[in-house]
Amino acid sequence: MRLDRQRGAQGTRLITLVPLVDAMLILLIFFMVTSTFLDLDMMPLTEAETPADSIETVTAEGAAAGSSGTVLLRLTADGLVVLRGERLSPPELLGPLRSAIGARTDVPVVVLPSRQAQVQALVTVMATATAAGAGAVRVLRVETAP
């Protein structure tokens, strides 16, 4: 019985590399299957380092001390936006909001959201306010009196 063995020119036994390739391929497929590529962005929520056109949370007292040209948006629990007494859906908000802001570039827009409203509704309103030319978008956080 003659057994074939892999031997080099000098007769030394060589390392078999095929199992290493299998291990590498398994690891590669593992990483390809288990990892998910997330395309994520961020919206700053704090006031410390945010530029003028980002989002901040302020108390009701802080908003009242703002400029007289402030535009107030009220976000209801069902996702509608109230602008100057008119209930609008988010897609309908852009035009009236642009009219309310006008040609000014420093008009702050304050959003008063319902606690039952969803995060997506608030983000949509803030994005619409930014698109309408708001100088700054602030979210009102109503605090209970001590």
Binding site: L40, M43, L122
Partner: protein
Amino acid sequence: MKLRRAPSDPTGESILPMIDVVFFLLVFFMIIGRMDATAPFEVDPPITDVGADLPGGGITLAISADGAVALDGQEVSPGIMLDSLAERIAADPAVRIRINADARAPLGRVLPLVGWLEDTGAEDVVLVVSPGRS
């Protein structure tokens, strides 16, 4: 005429280039893939086009649609979460806190938390969003 057969390659098929390709792909996926703490529950971030690039690192707070919270990938009770956050903010007020809230989560679960983080001294709190699909 006696033709001599070319000596066979004692190492078999040359697979070293294949190993190079496999290693390259492996390192490629390891480097470009960002390992982030994912939440133990499903979280679909809100969609918007006005977000800024989100760097990695920092503390990740996940909030599900029904109000469950997870801190760095582990679901915790609100009390434990607040204590842990207070410690980490006290150690480094500039640490980035990423709030990964589900788009359907009620604002009553998110905004008070943001206010508490600000009052505790956090300087960098961001909301994770997903860019709009074009």
